[in-house]
Every structure is written in structure tokens, then in C-alpha cells.
Subunit: 406 residues, 4 copies
């Protein structure tokens, strides 16, 4: 899973146990305002039920920590291993992903009891300093894994609510941290010029990192410029008014096919307001599109077409990582699509065992996103972090920042 | 909806109000043991969520009785008309059927409040004898409509539970009336011989009937024989062991295509027990197939292939109706597939208005079933009753009785 | 295949041999103007290549006559049995129907040699009077089978040409017999009144009949009236202008789904002429729709919706058969959709062996058509003839005649 | 289309005219042994009919050279512009790609006449030295374009023949140049060690290159080793016997899904011989798999899984280009899958106008292949050549060479 998973200052077990409690509680806080009905449905094959996220993250600790490391641990229910494995082929048979929304039992209350059962066992285990030291890497990975699912829980529920013709959210996602609006951007976009040269890319080894951020290595950068801010809804509306969704030459061929097939004319979760304007579904419910906010829920295809329309291009992941310290609005708003395919870094090696399935087997057909979003849990971001999705996906909190050759 | 909807002895309003309460309460009793999670999911495009059935049957009274007939009635929520219309094109836009399972809000509790709101208004309306007389036909239709959905609620939930890999029913359908096992059949099947001739077919006009049971008319019957009982699981197992699912010449061409494509080897809801035997999912949970019980959850294709294997054929709806008084096991066990297409009777006319969409527009691509099943609500059966489904459907409580030419 | 297949006056072998030559030659005449390219393609899963029809009808004689009945006969190529079996499960494995258009070899010229090889062997066999007598039923069936494929060859090629954006037929179907326009109908449609009563239905036993026309039996007719002519394009244009394709209440539910999904707005093979009128593809090429001609290429759903719009209904097959002698325009123009499902007649029994797969296994999900069309070979029609297709099919030469209850 | 398209030594018009004749004639030679039937079919959505390739390459010269540059040129048939445009959105409407196989007319003979018409006009045009100089870049591009389609014509026809259950090729592809077997590899695979460092990548500007090979730029190489030969069928059979197609941990997640869904167990065009061995379809017909030859017709997923099984990895396109001079078996056998996504080189710019759609709009969802294959026309290869296909595609002549980190 990477050369090291040491968290910044958890050399002592109390820190690890505290982190455990903090992350686990945050998952429950995110789902506190969701009804049992909200938590069981799966609104498309890409998403998972909220209840499933809560159970699957718990299964991770049961499967990879408690079962092998805690003598005498009794699994809450042996059938859960089948129900809540996501994609670990090495661990055995699992429930088909597309039918996760058909499992009404165990229900949301029972999942809460499952979580409590595992949490108790984990806390007991981590109370021993030697054990905590020994399991630090693995438990830390489990917590970062759970944080990734916290973000998915939010985007999946947002998608589910958006399928309700009434977009009847009513506070269901109201507890979301960090979804506060960005301050209105002052002045026009400026492009920060960057000289080229050899740069070091990848995780420095300081603190936790996923295996796909390693090993650190050199790449060549060519002179370029990066926008000092994210693309705004106001700019996206200009693109729309200028016929962006109807102009084939702006689009990649595959993207144009999707745009025509699905009759795309706006970002996901946007709806006409019936008077020429647009509404959008957010954790706050259905509301008019705010021109001052960064555009969200666009695919790589849309982002790429917009960039071409703007006489610019998407940045590479290397360009963004190298400039991350200097770029405003880098973390906490929208994931930024890059023009980099999600591939292994030179000399990448996946970990041995089931944990090795975490990232490596997805390194095809996906594009890298950098930064982090308003749905990302607090603290779960790094300059070297590599998020990745297929270029047609739109349900994540995805936007863009422009780049240009110099 | 038929020339008359007079219920047998409800000339007085108290009888109608009593019937209203009895039917409405039965729906709630059926869903009492279902969790909120159980009630929201839709396990395939053919089925609907339990919560939706509860709301849609309520919408029927609001749309067709209260809105037009009760001055001053205030709809519970105007958006429900969009959400809970099933297929009445004349009534306006409606929520797409295949995505009923994506609507988490209103939730099960709110649907209960919706039902109470409408029930109160209905009871007030029916308290006036003149109004009750005037609305008798329409309210009676609404109650029979609700009884049809009671059966669907049961079969849809059974399908949903069967998708759970654990078939974890746990009493969720335990309140079902009439699902008691049939007494074991004594002796071999006998065939009751029937002379042919002209017979009167269709509703006699005495008591309620759906429009598709009218008008009564004559048909020619040819000499034939009908089995004195329903086909049993023991016989179905013989068919299976004899290669019935692998013998093309027993099958209609379309049925054989389905059998191969879906790799059918047993009725729906049957699962191998891992030791050469079979389990089945019923309202009582997952249990071994009981050889003495009638086979359930077979398609018309399967029933037809079985009949050919047994050197027999399916009866026509006319043959069954004419003999219904004399046939054992006719009501309350399984719907009996016939070899009759669901078409209009001679001189059939659908009612005017939206109510006219009730039956007529489905008179193509379906086969008639006669009798009634263990999921049919008490009292909701008649000799002239015409149930109908596409020949590939298997999730209803469907079986068969054999016939032979003489 | 029916109690008797005696052709009218073929008691002597020369008559049978003559019929054999006449039918076989007609197939070749139909394809004479087709290029090798025309003959190899399959324009949708329902159709077959022209070359395949020529080979399959030949295979029928090789498989069912020559191989079992002609000692010393050497099959032209043993692999052809696999390639050119249509749907006879009992005869062994066969090439998947949907990929018939991917077989470029044997090519059209080799199929001609295959036909000549089989024709020679057949003529030798039929030269012996005793053999001819013995094989009369089987060979006669083979010839009627080939005539059915002659009609399919025409409708399949018409569909293929219509897929060419240029509809470039250029005489490719010019040899078609009987595609001459109907004389313009004089005066308005009249309805011929018919009293009801018991009528005899089915083949009388005089001359050839397919098994599905037997046994003759009685049915009850109710008083009704039948139009004295087929529905014309002029009337269909009225239906279109009156919003027929946009009015849900005229349609069966399944038909309305198809109409919306496929955006239907006119019969198959009609194209807007760009100036508010319509063109249609016929064996004569692309030409304006002729208002005086019967409407063709409509599905059962369209025919049924039209009838409802015209305050009428489709006739039953029994009504048409009983009146066939008295109805103008009954044969040779368009097949007439009926409101009768294609089911077995009472006491129907399929023949033993592979030949028994001819009709029986298709007796579900189809509606009966009566009469015959301009694509039907000369002489291949009878009052008792039962054609059948699924209600959504449109590529046959299908139209309608109206009926009304009295 | 790139900074320069100067062919090596065609400064004089005769050289260009000669090249024109040579390339155009080669296309006709490739299709000379194909029947009209062979040339019209399209065996899957990815492929095109042979006749279409012959017409489309002709259309290129008519559309981009003759129409704009040859005053007085009369198009052969105005409708061909619609039929034979492949994907140039800027040029106008075009016939849908998936239905190219439904166009029987114009037939193969007429396409030959179309080619002659355009060839005559082109030769007249190129006879003028000044015109030839002016059009050199554009015509040269057209010829390289035609050479690409020559390879597709071969692989598409091979796929079409392979769909014929008899794999009845009979010399249809016998004229193929360069399909001679590779000499048997001597000794075990050796890995050539390569030091890392900055290397120049991309077209040097000397001779023709497609726009996607530009601009030349620097990349960082890390120490690695490259196999001295292509992977052989004998090795692939070992992979198969070792359960390679059934071992999930060897596969990318998307590849594993495809392998299970399509029940893959061998390269495309391989068939079991019924006795435990394998046959394969090649231009020579159906023959036993030759263990000494390079494996062909594997997807990127398969190549990637094989490399993991062999404790190796796929090379990057940069590694292959930098070593191309030193690697045996680099050109003329199989295209070599790389682990590089097909993306724009830094500072890439597509040409203006319709010609700019040539490469750029496909730079997503595809992986690069390097080298060239036995189906590549003579001379059509370069060290900097970037071929590209989606990772699931198998119908091209695709194999692999192993790489390892040092």
C-alpha cells in the first residue's frame, strides 16, 4: 500500500485510537439526518447505498484487522463478509455491486449495531500500545479508506436525492462540513506562468500516502501557465450560451457521442427553472445556480471541451502537483480534472495480498483529478493525492482549472 | 368499468363505509411487519415498492373520488398526483415506472399520514347516505383496485426478499392470510370429463365485476377433460429430473429462447440446497420445497411445456369458467395459466374517461389466468375473474391445472 | 402437418414435377435482378439474406426428402445442413439466426449451383410415378414452404433497400408479380352487415393446407359489419394529421410504448419529402405516397389505434374467414391484421418429427393476419390461411380492414 | 497535420504521381481476391466493409484535393460524400458508422469505377509540377491515410471471415504481403538492459509524420530492460494452461469484467480443435496455432495480464521508441501494446479545418501501440509512429514485448 503509512503524529496508541474514534464518528454524523429509506437505495450502478458505505467500511476493519489480528474476536454476522466486500477478489465471493440497493436487511439500525460491535473490538485492540504500534499502518489505511467512502456517501446520496423528481432533500445532507460557498472571485482570471524543467513528483514519504502516490520520481515540465482560480458557473453559462454543447469540434469524439446520446446541455444535477435560468441540486436542496461558485459535476469530456472553447487546455497532474503550494482554491472546493491518464508511476509496485487490490487494478480507462472537494472530509487531502474516475463520470464534485502552453 | 358495480348487499352507506375501512386496514396489516427499508425498494421493473402500493391506492381515491366529488377537499400534497399515478395517461404526467424505487421521500411514515388524511375525508364523504349511494360504484371499484394491489404488494415483496442473498425474510410477510399449505392430495390425478356445447361465459351481472368480464356471451366448448387438482411440486420435480428444461421439443420457441438465455432449471424463487435438493423462498422464509404443494412461480412457457410433457394441454379460460363450480382447488392456491389470450370479449366497450384505461389497453401480449391464489385477499375472487400476465412472467403466484381433449 | 396435403390435380407425377419446377424457378426469377451484394446482407434480426432464403428452401428438400428418401443421394456440401437450417431443433445444431448476414461464402453463385444440384436430384426422384405418389404430401409441403419464403425474400429485400440512405433500388425488385396498383376506390367505405350464429371455421380438407388450419370446427359469430375495402393511405394521412401518433388513448399500452420509444409518426418505409409530404419505398423505388393505395407496413398496434380512431375495431379471423367470399380486395393487396391471437384450433395436433416444428411452436405472442398481399406468390392463398406476426412487426406487407359491432 | 509532410524524395511531381499510383494499386490488389459478397458485409460495429474502405479512401482525395483544388472537377456522384465520410464532423452529415454494412449499392464494381474516376482526375492534376509541389503535403497525407485503411481492410476482412462458421477463406486474403512466418526464435528470451536519462521523443521532422508524432520533446526514462523478442504462442499456451484466464489477480478490474462476461479463454480468432489443441484463423485460412509465431489478436487487458503473470510489465511507448533501433522483431510482425495512454505530446496542436479531426479527437480512452504488423503495408512504419486502440480491442494484429524495471 506504499512504503509507509505513518500518520503525522500517531506514534502513540492514544493518538491512533483518537483518530479511529474521530473518523468513525464522522461517518455516523454524515448519515444522521438520513432516513432508513434514504440509506437503502442505490440510484445507479456507480453508486452505493449509504447503509452499504457504513457497513463496508466496518467490514474493512473486521476483515483485515480483527479477524486476523484479534484472537477470540467473533464476527458480528458471518454473512456480512459476503454482503459488504466491495471488490477484493482475493477475499472470496461477494454480492454483485449492481444489486446493493436490493438488500433491505440488515437494515440501517442493524448496521449501526454492527458498527458498534466492531468499534468496541477495535478500541479494545488499540488500547494495547504494542498492538497499536504493530497495527498502525493497517488501521491508518482503514481510516483513510473510510474517509474516501465518506466522500462517496455524500456524492452518492446527492445523486439519489437528485433522482427524486421533487429533489426533496429537506436537510438530509445539511450536516456536510465545508460546503460553504467560495468568496466571489475578484477580477478576471490571471494565468500564473511556470518555467519548465525537471521536477520531483509523488509522495515525499512524510506522513500517510496511498500506494499510487509512490514512488517519488522525476518528470519533465514544459513552460506553461495555470489559472489562478477554478472555472466558475458564470463562465460555464457563457460556454452554454455560446453553443458549447452543440459544437462538435470542441469535443473529443467519445465525449461528443455521449453528449448527443444523453442530450447533455448542462452539468449534472442542473435543471431548467422554466424561465430560461437554471436550478441545481446541492446538499442545501434545489436552488438557483450561483454564478460566483465553481462549476461542479462536469465530466472530463465537458471540462476538456470547455478548455478548448476557452483557448486553453486541462493541466497535467504533474503541473498541478508542482504548483499546488502556489495555486489559490486548490483544496476543498472541486476536484480538478487533469489531462493525465491514471497509470502507475515508474517502478510502482502494488502491495502483496488482498490489500494490493486497493488501487493498482484500476489503472486503466481513468483520468486523474487533483486537489480535493467540498465533500472531502477535513484533513483528507495532499499535494500528491491522485483521485481518478472515468472521463464520462459526472456525479462526483468535479470541476476544472485552465492551463495554457507558453 | 362494467355495467354495474353494486356490491352484493351494500345498498346502505354503512355497508360501503364498513367495506372501505376493512379493505384499507387490510393493506396496512399486510405492510405492518415491513421495515421502512423493505418498503422503499423496487426489485425489478415489473414490481413496485410496498410504500408505492400504499400511496397509489390512496391516490386513486383522492384523484377519482375526493378531488371531483368532495367540495373543499384539500389534497394532502399536490406533488403526489405526479408521484403516485400508475398509468393513467388521461390524468397527466407521471413519474416513470422503472424509477419508483428511487423515491425515498415521502417515506413510509409520511405515506401512513397520507393514507389517514384521505381515509378521514372518505369516511366523512361516505357518512352521507345520498353521497354514498351516488359514489357506490366508484368507491367499490377503488376497493377492488386496492385489493389487486394487496396481492401485488405481497408478490412484489416476496420478489424483493428473494433478491437478498440471505433471503432474510424473518417474519416480514408473516401476516399473510391464506398461505396455509394445501392438504396433501389423495390418490392420483383424475380427469373430469366434460361434454361440449354452447356455454354462457362472462359476468352474470350479479355483484361487482371488472369491465373485462363483460359482456356475458356464448362460446362453443368441445369435449374435454380437466384435472381434479393442481399440478404439484412432486410432479414438477419429475419433469425436471426427466430433462424438461433441456428438451426443446416441449417448448414454445419464445419460451425456449428465454429458458436458454436465462439458464432456467426450476421455478422462480427456487434455489439448489447444495445437496441435490431444492429450497424455495416463500412468505415463511427459505425452506425446502414441499412436494405436496402446488407448484408456484412458473411462467406460461413453463406451464405449457409441462403440460406437453404430461401429454396434456393447458385449459382454455372458457373451459375453466364453465367448470369452476365443480373443480377442487380452484380458488385460493395458485392462479391457473390458460391457453387463452387476454382479448376483449365480443362487444366489449371500455368506460369513458381515465377509468377506461383500467383494463382495455392491456389486451395484447398477455395470457389469461383463472382462479385465485394464496396471495389474493379474502373474498376477491369470482368464476368470471380474468387475471392476465405476459407469458414469461414468473413472480406472481402462478401454477397450472392440466386439460386433455376427449 | 394437416390431415391431407393433396394438391388439387396432381394425382399424377408429372403435375407434381411441373409444380416443383414452376415454384423453384419463381424463386430464381425473384432474385434475378439482385446483385451478389444485395443477396448477402441481413438488414435486421427479423430478416434473412436473399441468398439464405434460396439456400434454406433448397436445404428443406435435401434434408426432408433427398437424404431420407433417395438412396445414394450425395449432399452438395455437408456443412450446409448447419448453415441453412432455420429453426428445426430436432435436426441438430444450426447457425445463429442473427448472424446470417455474416456468411459471405458460399456466395450467390455457389447457392445457384446448390439449387441446381438438388433440383436435378429431385427431378430424377419425381420421375418415378410411385415415388412421386408416395412423396406427394412432403414435396407439396416443401413447395408451399418455398412460396412462404418467396414472400419473405421480397419483404426482406425491401427492408434492406430501405436501409440504404439513397433507397437505391434501381429495378432490383422490378420483377415482382402482382405489385400493380389497386384501382382507385369508388365512393365512401360501406360496411357489409353480417348476422351472427354458428359457423364452420378451418380448412375443409379439399386441397393443401398447413397444419394450423386444421381441424375445421365451429365458432360463434356475433352480429357485426365489415368494411367493403381496405384502409387507404388517404385515410391514414387523415389519422396522422389528426394526431393519431400522439394520442395515447387510441393505443394499447405496449403499442404506445413502442410509438414513443421509436418516435413513430408514419408507417414503416415512409420518409418525409422535406415539403410536408411523404415518400415511400416500394419495389418500384422511392416515390410519393399514393393516397389511393391501401396502407402497408403498419404494425398491429398502428392498425388497432387507427381502428379506434375510426370508431371501429379490427375484425376477428373468424369473421374474415366466414365472409371471405363476399369481401372485395381480400387477396393480393395487403395482409389484414385481425384481433385474433395466433393459437391452436381446438383439438389441433402438430405432426410427429421435425416437420411438426413448422407451426405449433410459434403459437404464442403473435396475432393472425388474413388474406394475402402483393408480395404473396400467385396461387398461394386460401380463405383458411393463417398468417401470423408479433404485433410490433412492420416490415411485412400488412394493412387492415375495419369492422364494427352491430 | 504536423509541421511537415515532405516525403523523403518526392520533390519532383513524378515521384508523387508514382507514389500515388503505387499506393492506390496496392489497395486494389488487396481486394482482388475478395468476392462482391465479401466486400459488402460489416462483421461488427468496429469494422467497415472492404468496399467501404476502397470508397472512403477515394472520397478523401475527392473531398480534400479535387473538390477544392481542381477547377472543373465533377464529383463522381454527389451522394457519395454522405456515404463515405468516416468521421469528419466539419464536412457535414454522414452515414451512421454501424450501418455501413447495409449499403449494397453502389456495389463493388461501381466502387471500382469511382476509384478510376478519381484516379484519372488526380493523375491529371499531379501531372503539373507546380500543382504537385503545392499539393504534395496534402496528397502525401491522403496516401498515408489510405495505407492505414489498407491495414484495416485486412484486419476487418479477417474478422469477417472468422465469423463464418466454416472460416472459409479459400485464398481470399492470400495476396497479403509480409504475412510470412517469423523464423523460429533461438534460445530463451533475453532482456536488454537500458539506462535511464533524458531522451528525445517524437518525430525528428525528417520525412512524413502524422500530427500526433509532434512535437519532438524530452522525457525522463528510468532504468529498465526490454525483451529481445515478441511473446510467442508457445508462451501464451503456457499462460493459458497455468489458468491465466481464470486468475483474477493477474487482471485489471475492467479486463477481468470483460474476460468473465465474454468467457474469454484464448486470443481472438482461436478455436478449440476438439482434441485439446487450438486452431486459428489467419489469412491462410483455419490452421493449427503455430507455437513459434508471435501471439496475435490479444487485447491490452490480455497483454497486461500476461506480463504480470510473467513477472514483467508492458513497456512504455517512450521506452520502445528510444530502443527501436536495437530491438529485434520491432516492425512487420505484431503491433506491441504499451502501458502508455494515447494523449497529446506537450504543446501538440491539431491542424486547422476538417483535417484537424484526423487524430486529436481520439486522444482519450486508448492505449498506444508501437512497431508495425504483418498487415501493415510495406514502408508504412517509423520509430515515432503511434498506433492506438481501446484496451479491449482484439481484432487488430496486436501482441506484446515484455519489459522489466531494473
Amino acid at each position: 500500500m506504499a512504503q509507509t503509512f505513518m500518520t503525522t503524529d500517531t506514534s502513540r496508541n492514544t493518538a491512533l485510537a483518537d483518530a479511529f474514534t474521530r473518523v468513525r464518528d464522522h461517518t455516523e454524523a454524515l448519515s444522521a439526518a438520513l432516513s432508513p429509506e434514504d440509506q437503502v437505495i442505490q440510484s445507479m450502478a456507480d453508486t452505493s447505498p449509504a447503509k452499504w458505505h457504513r457497513a463496508h467500511t466496518t467490514w474493512f476493519f473486521e476483515q483485515f484487522v480483527l479477524n486476523p489480528q484479534s484472537p477470540g474476536y467473533v464476527p458480528y454476522d458471518p454473512s456480512f463478509s459476503f454482503l459488504f466486500n466491495s471488490y477484493y477478489e482475493a477475499v472470496g465471493a461477494r454480492h454483485p455491486r449492481a444489486t446493493r440497493g436490493l438488500v433491505t436487511r440488515p437494515n440501517a439500525s442493524e448496521v449501526a449495531r454492527y458498527r458498534a460491535h466492531v468499534d468496541d473490538a477495535m478500541r479494545t485492540l488499540l488500547a494495547d500500545p504494542d498492538t497499536a504500534d504493530r497495527l498502525d499502518e493497517l488501521v491508518t489505511l482503514g481510516l483513510h479508506h473510510e474517509q474516501q467512502h465518506q466522500e462517496l456517501l455524500v456524492t452518492d446520496m446527492l445523486h439519489a436525492f437528485a433522482q427524486n423528481p421533487l429533489a426533496w432533500i429537506n436537510g438530509g445532507l445539511a450536516v456536510l462540513p465545508g460546503w460553504e460557498p467560495l468568496p466571489n472571485a475578484a477580477g478576471p482570471t490571471r494565468f500564473l506562468e511556470r518555467v519548465g524543467g525537471l521536477v520531483g513528483i509523488g509522495h515525499t514519504g512524510d506522513g500517510f500516502g496511498f500506494d499510487n502516490e509512490f514512488p517519488r520520481h522525476h518528470q519533465v515540465l514544459h513552460p506553461h501557465a495555470l489559472a489562478n482560480r477554478l472555472v466558475r458557473n458564470s463562465e460555464w453559462l457563457e460556454f452554454m450560451h455560446d453553443g458549447g454543447y452543440r459544437t462538435s469540434k470542441l469535443w473529443m469524439s467519445d465525449g461528443w457521442e455521449q453528449a448527443k446520446r444523453d442530450a447533455l446541455d448542462a452539468p449534472m444535477h442542473w435543471r431548467p427553472d422554466g424561465e430560461g435560468g437554471w436550478l441545481t441540486v446541492s446538499p442545501a436542496g434545489l436552488a438557483p445556480v450561483d454564478p460566483s461558485q465553481p462549476v461542479r459535476h462536469v465530466s472530463w469530456y465537458e471540462a476538456d471541451a470547455f478548455a478548448r472553447w476557452a483557448d486553453a487546455r486541462l493541466p497535467t497532474e504533474c503541473e498541478l502537483e508542482a504548483a499546488s503550494d502556489e495555486l489559490p482554491e486548490f483544496f476543498g472546493h472541486v476536484w480538478q480534472w487533469t489531462n493525465s491518464a491514471y497509470l502507475a508511476y515508474p517502478r510502482f509496485r502494488a502491495q502483496e495480498g488482498a490489500i494490493g487490490e486497493y488501487n493498482g487494478k484500476f489503472m486503466i480507462n481513468q483520468m486523474v483529478l487533483r486537489g480535493s472537494s467540498s465533500a472531502t472530509p477535513p484533513g483528507h487531502h495532499r499535494a500528491s493525492y491522485r483521485n481518478f474516475f472515468q472521463p464520462e463520470k459526472r456525479w462526483q464534485v468535479t470541476g476544472l482549472r485552465l492551463a495554457r502552453d507558453l
